[in-house]
């Protein structure tokens, strides 16, 4: 089944293989530039790129400081569902969860590509390391603070109107204005605001005009 799916893929194999190295910055400059151009224009390759992140992270578990069993078990469930021709039902809000729940099952055929080569997957080291990290982290967590959840579920402003996002962006800009040269600035403070401040990725998103920006700022 997997080999058949691979043969029917509409994109070339080489860019997909390079993607797995590219997302860790492990390709040379020219190959990286080529893939950036491809990703900007090739929706299929971009979708593949999204799926690779979840698959890779779960297989290698290299990024799990703490316990990531829940996510990976969902990935495996999605794979099982794909095998039984069933569609995943859950649609969690988180981007990792979302892709794990929806996109992974459809891309199970690509697992063969991601897992090629003993050096590219977790191997025995990752299998041993993940529980060890989890155990360390568990002992570090204050026992009375686990499982804290908000009383309400957050509404994602990415799906709301541009004016709602601009209001939120104004609060964030003010926030970083006051923290900008002091504690709590954040490692990449301005980057998320630039990326998420507009509905990037949606070509028909409302454009921010200077007049609108001023009008939407909270009134003092």
């Amino acid at each position: 089944m997997k080999s058949e799916s691979m043969n029917t893929e509409s994109i070339n194999t080489e860019p997909r293989v390079n993607l797995s190295s590219f997302m860790d910055g492990e390709v040379d400059k020219s190959a990286g530039s080529f893939l950036v151009r491809r990703l900007a224009n090739d929706q299929v390759l971009r979708a593949t790129w999204d799926r690779y992140h979840v698959i890779r992270d779960c297989l290698r578990q290299q990024d799990a400081h703490l316990v990531q069993e829940d996510l990976c078990s969902r990935v495996r469930q999605a794979i099982d569902l794909e095998d039984s021709q069933s569609a995943p039902a859950s649609q969690p809000r988180n981007w990792v969860k979302s892709m794990a729940g929806v996109a992974i099952a459809a891309s199970v055929a690509m697992l063969a590509i991601v897992t090629v080569g003993p050096g590219q997957q977790g191997g025995p080291d990752a299998a041993v390391q993940a529980p060890a990290l989890a155990a360390q982290a568990e002992s570090f967590v204050s026992p009375n603070m686990g499982n804290a959840v908000p009383a309400s579920q957050p509404v994602n402003l990415a799906g709301q109107s541009a004016s709602e996002r601009e209001k939120a962006k104004a609060y964030l800009l003010r926030h970083y204005q006051l923290t900008g040269d002091g504690a709590g600035q954040g490692f990449v403070a301005l980057v998320p605001i630039v990326v998420t401040g507009e509905n990037a990725g949606t070509d028909d998103s409302p454009k921010l005009s200077p007049a609108a920006e001023e009008a939407e700022l909270p009134q003092q």
Binding site: D24, N147, P192, V195, Q219, Q220
Partner: protein, 324 residues
């Protein structure tokens, strides 16, 4: 063979910076973080990075130059809608959309990436665990992993991969308490020192019709304990680090406080109800940031920050009038 003067100057600047940066971080995670902040502040670098969060992947390019003219930066989107941010001595200019509208503010001058020392607040070192991880190759360079692991559910954990020679940030990753990756930034190529193409500092817009961002003027920063409205609950280790009391002008009639543990931070806004448009009541998220707004008597209370939802909600619910 004669080298051009600017090449010699650039080489000299790189050598000077190399000497001034902490050279031996060894096995000390804090020393690696100190190297990073020094390198990000003092070095010129240029590169392409990917930012992945909230079901979105964006490719951005940054140019950061430090020379006799001071620190200048330009961040521009490679994919998606055109976004461009330029920071120099005159402040911040934000060019957005294909129509290239420009928002500028001379008072906003914070860097794209962290350039300050990364430490918990004095006396509080128990809320994060700092660890060194393995090395790996990123953007054709060797990178050292440094983990900053949160002790509880009220703040996120961070993983950083730092260029082994300079300490420059090559990869950043935000993780919640369950180990789920919320956002990731990774450089795919990086140049530094004399390799940086200064021409990329130039903005792409020929017409720079600037409009003020609308941010409040008079960004004087102080910490006051006599604020009328205060959060009665904060995550362990959080303290008030900045406070802007309401002023008389329309642009500063709201109270704004910042609370931080030295790494994560939240802002508390208290605005007159009749003049506040708010961000909508209740809990919202934008990227990795959370926002919680509620009405309280005659004011709107809003808490925002790059922290878990539970944190902004609990802080906002705890706000009350601080009677003298």
């Amino acid at each position: 063979m004669k080298l051009p003067i600017f090449c010699l100057s650039a080489l000299g600047a790189v050598l000077l910076i190399a000497v001034s940066l902490p050279s031996q971080a060894g096995d000390d995670p804090q020393a690696w973080l100190d190297r990073m902040s020094s390198a990000m502040r003092q070095m010129s670098y240029q590169g392409t990075f990917l930012y992945i969060a909230d079901e979105r992947m964006e490719t951005m390019r940054i140019t950061h130059v430090v020379d006799e003219a001071g620190s200048r930066e330009r961040l521009v989107s490679v994919s998606g809608p055109h976004r461009e941010v330029i920071r120099d001595q005159s402040g911040l200019k934000w060019i957005s959309g294909d129509e290239e509208s420009v928002m500028a503010d001379p008072l906003v001058n914070w860097p794209m990436f962290l350039e300050q020392s990364v430490r918990g607040l004095p006396g509080d070192s128990t809320h994060y665990q700092f660890k060194l991880g393995d090395q790996k190759r990123i953007a054709e360079r060797t990178a050292q992993r440094v983990d900053i692991i949160s002790a509880d559910d009220f703040r996120y954990s961070y993983s950083l991969w730092l260029e082994s020679g300079s300490g420059l940030l090559l990869q950043w990753q935000l993780t919640d308490q369950k180990g789920e990756i919320l956002a990731k930034l990774v450089f795919t190529e990086l140049s530094m020192g004399s390799e940086v193409d200064l021409s990329e500092l130039k903005n792409s817009s020929g017409k720079m019709q600037q409009v003020h961002s609308g941010l409040p003027v008079g960004a004087a920063k102080s910490v006051s304990e006599s604020s009328q409205w205060r959060a009665q609950w904060l995550p362990p280790g959080f303290r008030m680090t900045a406070n802007r009391a309401p002023g008389q002008s329309p642009e500063s009639s709201f109270q704004h406080q910042v609370y931080s543990d030295g790494i994560a931070s939240v802002s508390l806004y208290v605005e007159p109800l009749e003049s506040s448009s708010g961000a909508g009541l209740g809990l919202h998220e934008l990227g990795t940031s959370h926002i919680f707004s509620r009405k309280l008597d005659e004011v709107m209370v809003t808490v925002v920050g790059d922290v878990p939802a539970i944190t902004v909600e609990k802080i906002a619910q705890s706000v009350s009038h601080n009677k003298p």
